[in-house]
Structure formats: C-alpha cells, structure tokens
Symmetry: C2
Subunit: 319 residues, 2 copies
C-alpha cells in the first residue's frame, strides 16, 4: 500500500470537502474563508536525510522542503513550527547551537518566524515541520487543461547527484562534491516566484518525490496524460559535464526527487508573460512538455526522438 492508497482508503472520508476547505487531495491545506494555508511534513533520519553528521545542513534542508510546499502554491510562508524527536547524542549543546543558527539564517532568508513546536525524547531522530502562510487564493492541483504547457523552475538532478556523492556511490573532486552536496542540502527555493505564479500557472506542485511522480500527482484526478521532451528538461552545466565525463544517462538523473523546484502547467497564451517574469526575476522557467488527452499515453521523447517509458517514477512512501 502506498501513501496515496492509504490516504484514499482510510482518511479521505474524514476530511469532508467543505465550501472553504480543501480535502486531503493536495499538498497543502487551504481554508479560503480564513485565508489560511498549512503544510505538515515529517522527516526521519535514514529516510528523508542520511544522518545527522551535519545538523546545520539537515535543518536547512527540512525547512526548505517544508516551505517549498507552500511557495509552489503561490503563497509566502509566514510561520513555522518544529517538533523534534531525539536523544542526548543528537541534541548536544553543540548541535542545538548549530540548529538554532541554521534556523536563524533560514528565517532571515525566507522571512519566516519560529512559532512553536515540541521536543521529545526518542532514540530515533525525526522532525515534523508545520508551515503556515496566508493567501486569498492558491494554485491547486488537478486544474491543468489539455494543451497546457508544462514548465519547471531552475534545474533538476543536481540534488540526486549530491545524494549519490554523500552516499559515496559517485566520486568527484572536492569542489564538485561540495557543489552537488550543497544542492542536496540547500535547494534554491524560488520564494520570489510565490507572488507571480498566480499570473500564469493553471496548476502547480513542488518536485520532492521526482519529476514524473509529482507530475502524476499534479493530474491524478484528471483524465489527462503528458508528453515530456527529455532534451528540454533543464540541468546544470556541472551536471552536464559529469554526465558526459562519466557516460551517465540524463534520464536517470532528472526524476529522483529532492529538487524542490516548481512544476507547473500554464495555457499556451501565457508563454509571453512567463518569459517576461522569468527574465525579471532572473529565475529559469523552462517549458519541458505538454498536457494531452489520456487517450494518448504519458510519454517522454528521448534525445533520439524515441518514446521511452520508465519503471521507477520516483520515490513512493510504502507501508
């Protein structure tokens, strides 16, 4: 049973869709009347982060992952709550200082405020982050239309290569190791996009589980499919070099998640405004495919113009 089935089978019915509140079928909770947006996520050592050797970086990663959920919906986060479970080894004075310093840096960078939480004793290290923002409206899932363009912000894949470096599955020089592991720990969340997305996006989600897994989620209640063009999926120059030098395949690097870029759909009429906003903010927003009727199967056109299918679409929470 995956997370989606678990929610659908056991919890969906507990969340009646009222006139003002979303049910569980989106990344965030939104109460339109109260203008309240809430996201809750749990991060566990060995699962969502490898270990706690670098508490300062782990904390940055989980805060950014949490607020990314809200930002990709076109909303700026305001408050966050952190509930940490750990023991004497994980919550040493030195680590607490690092955690506190990192939180302070993230607060200044994203203009958010620690507003509460909990600390409990456990030999298993985990954090639950609740992020809250306020907005008159949000960008939903499942609002894409046939022939909408599919866009992604920034670059994909750097974070996954960073993870492979941290796991010692790929060996790079010091400079590149640092570059990619930093991309893994500190995704460059595009908070400046929050206020602009509503001007063009018909639907949006952030990429946490992987491009394809999150694209599936974005249209999961719709009778739609997608066609992506591998050539157009943006990757960094550093990643390009590594793929070339190590003869690795691009397709294996662009859908493994932890990118925290915004994945969105927009009508073709919005191409102009998207170019202008991308240029104004200095944020890359790349057209990577198109939404189509699901009489056509979802597909990816590879670098040789052949249609490819993937076995593993990304990270799925299994029970």
């Amino acid at each position: 049973m995956n997370e989606f089935e678990l929610i659908k089978n056991y919890f969906q019915k507990l969340s009646k869709k009222t006139s003002c509140a979303l049910n569980l079928n989106d990344d965030v909770f939104f109460d339109k009347k109260k203008k309240l947006v809430v996201s809750v996520d749990t991060y566990i050592e060995g699962n969502h982060f490898l270990n706690f050797n670098k508490p300062d970086l782990v904390i940055k990663k989980i805060i950014r992952s949490s607020i990314s959920d809200i930002i990709c919906k076109g909303v700026k986060p305001k408050y966050y709550f952190i509930s940490g479970s750990g023991n004497k080894k994980t919550f040493t004075k030195s680590n607490l200082l690092k955690i506190s310093k990192s939180l302070n840096e993230e607060q200044n960078r994203y203009n958010i405020l620690l507003s509460g939480g909990d600390t409990v004793f456990s030999n298993k290290l985990s954090f639950t982050i609740t992020s809250i923002g306020f907005a008159n409206d949000i960008i939903y899932r499942n609002k894409a239309k046939i022939n909408d363009d599919i866009y992604v912000s920034g670059n994909l894949g750097d974070s996954y290569l960073g993870l492979l470096v941290l796991k010692k599955k790929v060996k790079l020089n010091k400079l590149l190791s640092k570059y990619f592991s930093n991309k893994y720990f500190m995704p460059n969340i595009k908070i400046e996009l929050a206020d602009e997305l509503k001007n063009f996006a018909s639907s949006s989600i952030d990429i946490s589980d992987g491009l394809l897994a999150d694209l599936d989620k974005l249209i999961n209640s719709q009778k739609l499919s997608y066609k992506l063009n591998l050539k157009n999926i943006p990757i960094s120059n550093n990643l390009k070099k590594i793929l070339k030098n190590k003869k690795l395949s691009k397709i294996n690097f662009i859908s493994n998640g932890d990118d925290y870029q915004v994945l969105l759909t927009a009508p073709q009429s919005k191409r102009g405004i998207i170019k202008r906003i991308s240029s104004k903010l200095g944020i890359k927003i790349t057209k990577i495919g198109i939404i189509q009727n699901n009489s056509l199967k979802s597909s990816i056109i590879d670098l040789n113009n052949a249609v490819i299918t993937l076995k593993n679409k990304g990270y799925s929470h299994k029970f």
Copy 2:
C-alpha cells in the same frame, strides 16, 4: 537540560515577540491579527503512550491531548493534522481501520476536521498532531494576580492510576481496571468550558505534566507562588475508595499528569460566576488554592494541616 531550558537557551530568540504573535512561552501560538491559534505536539510509543496494542484508544488519547491545549485557552479547535511514523506492523489494515474509526468518533464528539498530515516509514512509532482554532483572544499564562483563587476542572489522579493498572503495578478488579484505564486513554476534555473560560479566568493551562509542574509553568515568568490545599483537590469516588482500601496516599496521585483538566486562576470576585457556570454546564470546577507573593514559598497544606513539599513535581522532558 530540560525542555524549558532548551527552549530558553536555543530557540526563544528565534521567536521575536511581535505585536500580534506570542513567543514560545505559552502552550499555544496565537496570532491576534489573524485570530489564529496553533498547537503542535509529538507523541512517541513507550514515552507518551505505553504501546500500540489498542490503536483506537491511543489515537483518542493523543487527539484529546492535542486539542486540550487549545481548549484550556478558551478556544474551540477546528482543524487537526496528523503525521504518523510507523511500519507494516503498526500500520496494518486492521489498525488503520481502527485509527480511522477513532478519528471519526473524535471528530463527531469535538466537531473537528482532519485537514492533512503525513505518513512516513519508521520502525519507531510516533505521531505529531497539529491542532488549529480561531479566536479573537485567548487566556494566557503568567497573568495571575496575587490573591487569585486557583481552580481545577473535573477530577485528578484517575489517569495516573489507569497508567499503573496498564503497567500492572496496581491490580484491580475488571470493572475498576476498565474505569481507570479508560480515564487514562480517554480524558474527559471539557470542550463546553472553552467559550466560558474568558468570563472568569485570569490565566489557564491544561494539566498534562502534572498539577504542580503545570502550576509552576502557569506562573513561570511571574514573581508569585502558590498555596494548595490537598483536602480540596478533587478526586473521583472510585479513586477515593482505592486509596482507602490499598492505604495509598492521595498526594502521590494528584500530580502525575495526563489529567487534561483545566487549571486556572481567577480573581476572588469571580467566585459567583464560576459557581453558576459550573452548575449550568454540569462541570465540576473546584477551588484548590490561592496565588501569593513569592516572599512566601509555594506550599501544599496536607490533610493534617501540615506544610509538605514534593520532590518530583511531575513529568519533565529531559535531554
């Protein structure tokens, strides 16, 4: 280092007290401008609940514990978010059905709505509950005045005896075992009090860690102390009988926490209205002591009119 020191030393400064938002020195977060009240708590197997043999009851306990934080502030909860970490053994289909059924019963009883959350894989079972309510104002900590009366709702100690029964440290007949373990799992949260508290309480908190520990928290930034009268501290007739039969001492049962009753202070001028509201709602609200200047030490007058001091004031989260 206890939880209080941990917050003070490392996290207090991250939570600037703005004109509209509380800092970390209260049980709930309150944004007066947005009228938003938030409480976040984590519950871990072996710590906050013994085990998961009765998932239906554990879920009820943690939901009630979470909304109790908001209700004791004079606010009705509206939404809750549940983030569960577990594995295939804890999240079996049978357990998920029990969890879902329990949540549904709690939703109907307290008029709250599941609004989101997260499910992650972990061999350590834990839940984080975020509860949200809306209010123009809340009842704060640290607003008690000298000579204010101290009150508590309901009875204390039943839950602790229930825990001892579940731990097989006290043996009772089947009927009484059931009575006390139910008090442990399903504290009778006084949601009807939420709308009335603001009419008389000068400060309030819910009793989760224990009467004395929570009373200390209620006045922790004030130069105040308290005098309690053991004789007046309310316990159930069932507990009275057990204490008598087993020759157990009352003092050992009234401050071990998990009571989830409302502990509050009120000016002496409010005695009339408190009696009337207590009678109207059919909820016991008992005067158990008085707030005094801290030139006098906090004390408890025992059943023989002698002053007693306690070593262990209740549960404290240590790291």
